[in-house]
């Protein structure tokens, strides 16, 4: 029974944590380049609706995923222009994109409410691996292809950020844009591209919800997941690999809040993921601020050549 509880909790944590992980990875890339993107929720919504409409109209999941990512990229480009070229307040721009994105997605999706998807993305058991005791039921049973894609993407983002020259440039742009500029990097272009990557990941996260996890379109389908992803980015300390256990932690508390409702006060379990985030943030602040834990030094600061940082 205890083992069943463990494996089921991990499996559900993975399923619920996938969109959080995808969006958090996108946020890690953008924030590592120094751009805060509060537009995640809006980008996820647009990805969700765009993916759903394309999947419903054409029946093609790959095309739907592509369009979902492009929808995220399109709005991210807006944020990117505002944040990196016009040097306006990133927080205001991101919030505006969330508010506008949610509204626009609901408007675009209006006529698709109540219409099921004929061919959604289906969960599957991974051959051979699903037969492994414990690990099989926990990670390789009834999961979606996008979940494994998200895990692979975490590795890819880590490799690019920490094991490649472009990644080094990106992180330098986020830490000290003036130094990166002096070293010959195009700060604005790097930041702009990082924001676009973030938008693509957010679009994919939204598509996971409307094409696989639900699968359905309904108003406010993300229901605040974009904001959780922002918290996750901090909980993961801006590290793509740490985002995986952080997403699992959020997912585990969420599923346990229902599984253990009979024995533990549900309010406590509903509260726990947020308590963990607050504790983590407190711990981070206590341990010496953003520099000590890996927050990019120039996070949220627009870069103008020649200005003192």
């Amino acid at each position: 029974m205890e083992l069943e509880l463990l494996t089921t909790t991990l499996a559900r944590a993975l399923a619920f944590g996938t969109p959080l992980l995808l969006a958090a990875l996108g946020e890690v890339v953008a924030e590592r380049a120094g751009v805060v993107n509060l537009g995640m929720e809006g980008m996820m919504m647009l990805g969700a609706v765009a993916g759903f409409i394309v999947a419903a109209a054409t029946g093609s999941l790959p095309l739907a995923l592509l369009v979902a990512m492009l929808a995220g990229v399109a709005v991210a480009a807006l944020h990117g222009v505002i944040a990196t070229f016009l040097l306006a307040n990133q927080f205001v721009s991101g919030l505006a994109i969330t508010i506008g994105g949610v509204g626009l997605a609901n408007l675009l999706g209006k006529e698709w409410v109540g219409k099921p998807l004929a061919a959604p993305m289906l969960p599957f058991d991974v051959p051979v691996l699903s037969d492994i005791p414990l690990l099989g039921p926990a990670f390789f049973t009834r999961q979606y292809a996008l979940t494994y894609a998200a895990l692979v993407l975490a590795l890819v983002v880590w490799l690019v950020l920490f094991r490649s020259r472009p990644g080094l440039t990106l992180r330098t742009v986020g830490e000290s844009p003036a130094a990166a500029d002096a070293a010959g990097a195009n700060v604005r272009r790097v930041r702009f591209l990082a924001v676009l990557v973030g938008g693509a990941m957010a679009g994919l996260a939204g598509a996971y919800l409307s094409l696989a996890y639900r699968p359905a379109w309904g108003e406010n389908i993300t229901n605040g997941m974009g904001w959780i992803a922002l918290g996750l980015t901090i909980l993961a300390l801006w590290h793509p690999l740490r985002a995986v256990p952080a997403a699992l932690l959020f997912g585990a508390f969420f599923t346990l809040s229902f599984r253990l409702q009979a024995v533990l006060p549900p309010e406590l379990l509903t509260l726990l993921p947020y308590l963990v985030t607050v504790l983590a943030l407190t711990l981070i602040a206590w341990r010496g601020g953003r520099g000590a834990v890996g927050a990019p030094e120039a996070l949220g600061l627009p870069y103008r050549r020649g200005e003192r940082e």
Binding site: E4, G103, N106, G109, V113, G114, N223, Q261
Partner: protein
């Protein structure tokens, strides 16, 4: 009734951040079904038109004093959620459309995603736009509607799911408890594990009443089965509904009912091949093989009756103090069915015909026939059966309703006890 759990929470969602999406829906809140006439650029025409309008208003005003003609009624709805929620506000809007079709002379309009605090200001806007009947459709709108009814004594107000009335404010409700009881019979008849799952929104009397009626039905068809309840603490929480269903499946549940505004529970159960029920709207398209039956609402039946009586002069802005609708199966306000017309999904007909139940009078009936019998008994006027007729015991062993006693509407509206086959947290349990 616990105010903090009111229907206002049908939008947004408390579990995860909600502010931004609320702002977004607020931004496109006001919408009319009839587009206003475009403005003319000529100022003098405007002035002339305005004078004409004043004249027309005066004429209408005096005319209205004599009799409200059908074409004068402009009924305006206030929804708590977006009409695209495919749940409560969606059902309210279907009701508005049905009434507009039933009474072609009237004009209708609606405002969606109205926050509780904005009710009065929204009513101001609606009355300024010519609405003479205002229908608020959320429990939490009560205070705002009462204040507005006092400020606009000539306007007729209606409050769906409300409890407080005024001379120009009536209340109306389409309640599901009989429907949930029939769904419980079907759930009990279909459960092999003896564990029936119920995903509830908030532990408030309305939801508890429905769970109890459902559990009484389950017990009648399957005396050993229990109903395991998990709460979302939210009217809208698709991810929570999904994980709650998965958690119940892990704990052995094999039939599912719910109170949540999306088809997520039905979809999740279907992915495991387990039966479930439609809630509010038909969710059959989402799980065509596994929606066994469900709860369907026809708010339009109520609003057509209300507006019909406004048109024929039965209801005026002075005689609504005691007008309270608590409509059930017999009035056609609610319906048992996976979708309108499909009481029980043919896919489960055989299973339900195989399982038999012995009634109190010694007759043996299949669960299928029993469900149809109960629908027939509760659809007659006066009803020939009520699931809450005593003796009814709660799960603590207390006698709630003595033998032969049927609770009053007021008792049903304040119901707090848990049926003796219900398991799970139950806040406010007496």
């Amino acid at each position: 009734m616990n105010i903090s759990y009111d229907r206002r929470r049908r939008v947004g969602g408390g579990r995860v951040g909600r502010g931004a999406s609320d702002l977004a829906v607020m931004a496109r809140r006001y919408r009319e079904t009839r587009a206003p006439a475009g403005p003319t650029s000529e100022v003098f025409i405007m002035r002339f038109a305005r004078q004409l309008a004043v004249l027309a208003l005066i004429t209408v005003f005096y005319g209205a004093a004599a009799q409200v003609s059908e074409t004068d009624v402009k009924a305006c709805w206030l929804y708590v959620g977006p009409v695209g929620d495919y749940g409560f506000s969606y059902a309210q809007d279907l009701g508005r459309k049905a009434t507009a079709a039933d009474l072609p002379g009237i004009t209708t309009a609606y405002v969606e995603a109205v926050a509780e605090a904005d009710v009065e200001a929204t009513v101001d806007q609606l009355v300024a736009d010519g609405c003479n009947v205002v229908l608020g459709t959320s429990f939490g709108f009560g205070d705002g509607l009462l204040a507005a009814a006092e400020r606009y004594p000539d306007v007729i107000f209606g409050h769906a799911t409300g409890v407080e009335r005024a001379p120009n404010l009536l209340t109306y409700m389409a309640d599901f408890y009989q429907v949930y009881y029939v769904n419980g019979l079907i759930a009990g008849g279909l459960s092999s594990s003896g564990i029936v799952g119920y995903i509830g929104a908030f532990p408030i009397p309305e939801v508890k009443r429905h769970i109890d009626a459902f559990a009484i039905g389950v017990k009648e068809a399957n005396p050993d089965a229990k109903v395991v309840v998990r709460w979302l603490y939210n009217w809208f929480d698709p991810a929570g509904a999904k994980e709650a269903t998965e958690a119940l499946i892990a704990d052995g549940a094999d039939v599912f009912a719910f109170t949540e505004d999306t088809p997520t529970v039905a979809q999740t159960a279907a992915a495991h091949g387990y039966p479930s029920f439609s809630h509010y709207a038909s969710m059959l398209p989402y799980a065509p093989d596994t929606i066994a039956s469900g709860q369907l609402v026809n708010w339009g039946v109520l609003t057509t009756d209300i507006l019909g009586k406004v048109i024929d002069g039965t209801y005026t802005s002075t005689n609504l103090q005691d007008v309270d609708y608590f409509w059930l199966l017999s009035q056609g306000a609610v319906e048992v069915g996976a979708e309108p017309g499909m009481v029980i999904n043919p896919a489960y007909e055989e299973a339900l015909k195989e399982r038999t139940v012995e009634l109190a009078n010694g007759d043996r009936l299949s669960v299928y026939d029993l469900a149809l019998l109960r629908i027939e008994q509760m659809s007659s006027d006066p009803v020939a059966f009520d699931p809450f007729t005593g003796p009814v015991y709660d799960r603590k062993g207390n006698l709630v309703y003595a033998a032969g006693v049927t609770p009053s509407v007021a008792e049903l509206l304040g119901l707090q006890w848990a049926a003796d086959n219900v398991e799970g947290p139950w806040e406010g349990e007496p």
